[in-house]
Symmetry: C2
Subunit: 327 residues, 2 copies
């Protein structure tokens, strides 16, 4: 049976057979460099890193909304329609690589992308740096944090990545359960977790982030029908067997990070569960099984980062001006 | 002399001749209804109050940026270019009425405007209420705060207005000075304040918000040249003498609320000061006088509200979906 072969392969790949639990607890952030975190937070909320002066990282990775924009695909510069669903920045540090196709190795490498991307913030790196360098408050803060290095693409992205590393969501009810508090989950939720393991979901969605540990084909057992043109990892590796292969997304805070899948094709978590079982595992779930797994997934919502809104240093007369209506 | 007549009229109108100081201290917010403030904060940050699911009050009144969007005119739904510069929401409770032309009497009345405005959030009120009513977290929070009243345009706008009333910026260096700490301002800044009074600025910019106490013609002594079509209060009153009459804007936090004037025509505060003296008072300032007044204006930056980013309650499968790319 195809199903058995796949499941066995997956178990072999991930070593799940020997792990006590496929999911590990999310640890609270330990902040060793609070000044850099604070600077990175400012940059994460900084619309002057966009050509329009209007879009910041937080526009698409809204920390009021689980680190996403709750849209099927994002709105970028000049209201351009983005190509793919925006993944959450929460717990992104646990990902084996960044982006759906893993084309950025680290958070720091990733952060350079959206600033200059003409469909996102649309501001060439040199111009973005010119803006920051012409804001006295940033001059002072970068030299406090980075000394002589000053304001460069490297220091900007290092600060942003350092901030993003703090964006973890510990202490979900599921983590309390993992830590031994069996009352933390209802019976229905515990049944859901058991099904999540027995049905094979945990073969792909595992590790502390319940995802982000591997790439897998979307539509392993049955094709995933979508009008979204993204082809996944083949664009990175050039290998045909990587067509429609995507990073397995985190299921932490999945109740918040609708709509689902790289094409944002459904807002309904239960529907996403049913689709997964069908296209990835070649099976149908009963209605009740789908409900139980959905119940379990909602226990993965952790404590959201408590963010005090940064107060951004003002521009001065000489600061390059935003160009909101330039194409 | 025209100048004398104008100045005398202004003094008579505002009763300045008898006031010890034309500017009063901003008091810290006293919060009597923390639950309503918290709910109002959520709504202020709520992009699901827009058709696109992308724009919230905070998009244009960014509390990281002095309560404005730092753009000449705003970006609205579908990247439409707004008609007029977005004023700050900071200290808005001190305004005699809301909007540049005063067409909303209260903050509560104002708050209904942008949600349904097709150039701003573009979501008809009934649809906005349908969205909120279909979010379980809001159902619960509205009944806690408003009991049986539930989720209506009235309760939504009351909560937003109650939050906005907390957005004050006390304890600026100028307030410290007013409270008796003469060291709080440098000699240059004190000279600037003296000029602000003696040149006639305080005739229009007065009260705790250093503005917001009256309407005045823009271009009283010399025409203000602009390509912006806004005509001011004539649109509200229908009276010809109200053409180009605008609410005198607050100068609190003016260092943050660039660009300046209802058309956002300059990012340079000193230039705004020079323009004011010319068009409103029919005089030229020396370069040094303009510098001193600008120095003084920068002392009006107060403590910005400390906002903990709200965590918004999630949509569920049945919640009406945003329509980011519907025109
Ligand atoms: C216009 C919307 C938009 C903006 C602005 C934006 N992002 Fe993204 N972000 C996306 C989208 C869409 C993706 C997925 C792209 C892909 O995988 O090809 C993404 C992916 C990411 C990822 C990878 C997450 C993962 O699990 O793979 C991180 C991290 C991230 N963004 C951080 C940032 C930072 C930092 C900024 C600001 C410097 C930013 N984003 C600005 C839309 C945006
Ligand atoms: C063979 C690997 C594999 C298996 C097995 C698997 N998944 Fe997935 N899962 C993925 C991949 C890859 C994606 C991303 C697919 C895409 O969006 O193109 C995904 C996406 C999801 C999503 C949407 C996440 C988001 O943020 O968009 C959910 C929910 C989900 N899986 C739950 C499950 C459940 C429940 C099961 C078991 C019934 C399961 N998965 C089994 C690989 C797998
Ligand atoms: C798309 C940009 C945009 C959005 C979104 C927006 N505003 Fe505004 N706001 C403006 C502009 C522009 C004005 C000035 C309009 C005028 O005077 O004719 C304004 C005026 C105001 C004023 C009057 C301030 C004064 O001193 O006159 C307040 C208060 C305000 N907005 C609050 C809000 C609230 C609350 C929301 C959300 C419900 C909101 N705004 C959404 C752009 C926006
Ligand atoms: C006769 C009334 C009047 C006098 C006198 C006056 N102003 Fe104004 N001021 C206004 C009005 C009305 C506006 C708004 C005009 C517009 O944008 O159309 C304004 C706008 C401003 C702005 C821009 C505020 C913003 O947020 O856009 C500044 C700065 C300013 N005034 C400073 C001054 C200074 C400094 C003086 C004295 C040199 C002065 N004003 C004298 C009525 C006055
Ligand atoms: Ca999503
Ligand atoms: Ca302004």
């Amino acid at each position: 049976m195809r199903r058995t072969i796949v499941a066995t392969t997956l178990l072999a790949v991930t070593g799940l057979a020997h792990a006590a639990e496929p999911i590990q607890v999310i640890e609270p952030a330990t902040i060793t460099n609070p000044e850099m975190v604070e600077l990175g937070k400012k940059l994460f909320f900084e619309p002057r890193l966009s050509k329009s002066g209007f879009l910041s990282c937080n526009s698409c990775h809204n920390l009021s909304l689980g680190g996403v924009d709750i849209l099927p695909t994002s709105i970028g510069h000049n209201w351009q329609e983005g190509p793919i669903n925006a993944p959450t920045v929460l717990n992104a540090k646990y990902m084996l690589a960044q982006f759906w196709d893993g084309r950025a190795a680290t958070l720091q490498e990733q952060a350079a992308g959206p600033i200059a991307n003409p469909k996102e913030m649309a501001l060439e790196h040199e111009l973005a740096l010119d803006v920051l360098r012409a804001i006295p408050g940033y001059q002072a803060e970068f030299s406090e944090v980075f000394g002589d290095k000053g304001i460069t693409l490297d220091t900007v992205t290092e600060a942003i990545a350092t901030f993003e590393e703090t964006l973890v969501t510990p202490n979900s009810r599921f983590d309390q359960y993992l830590n031994g508090d069996k009352e933390a989950l209802s019976t229905a939720e515990q049944e859901g977790y058991a099904l999540f393991k027995s049905k094979g979901c945990a073969a792909c969605h595992n590790g502390p982030a319940v995802g982000g540990t591997m790439y897998q084909k979307m539509g392993l057992m049955q094709p995933f029908v979508t009008s979204n043109p993204a082809q996944g990892r083949v664009d990175v590796t050039g290998k045909e067997h990587d067509r429609m292969v995507f990073k397995v997304p985190t299921l932490r805070n999945i109740e918040l990070t609708y709509p689902y899948f790289h094409d944002g094709s459904t807002y309904d978590l239960k529907e996403a569960v049913i689709v997964m079982q069908r296209v990835q595992l070649g099976q149908e779930l009963t209605d009740q099984e789908a409900d139980r797994i959905t119940d379990f997934l909602k226990t993965l919502t952790g404590e959201q980062p408590q963010i005090t809104l940064p107060i951004l240093p003002p521009s001065v007369a000489g600061t390059p001006k935003p160009q909101p209506f330039a194409k």
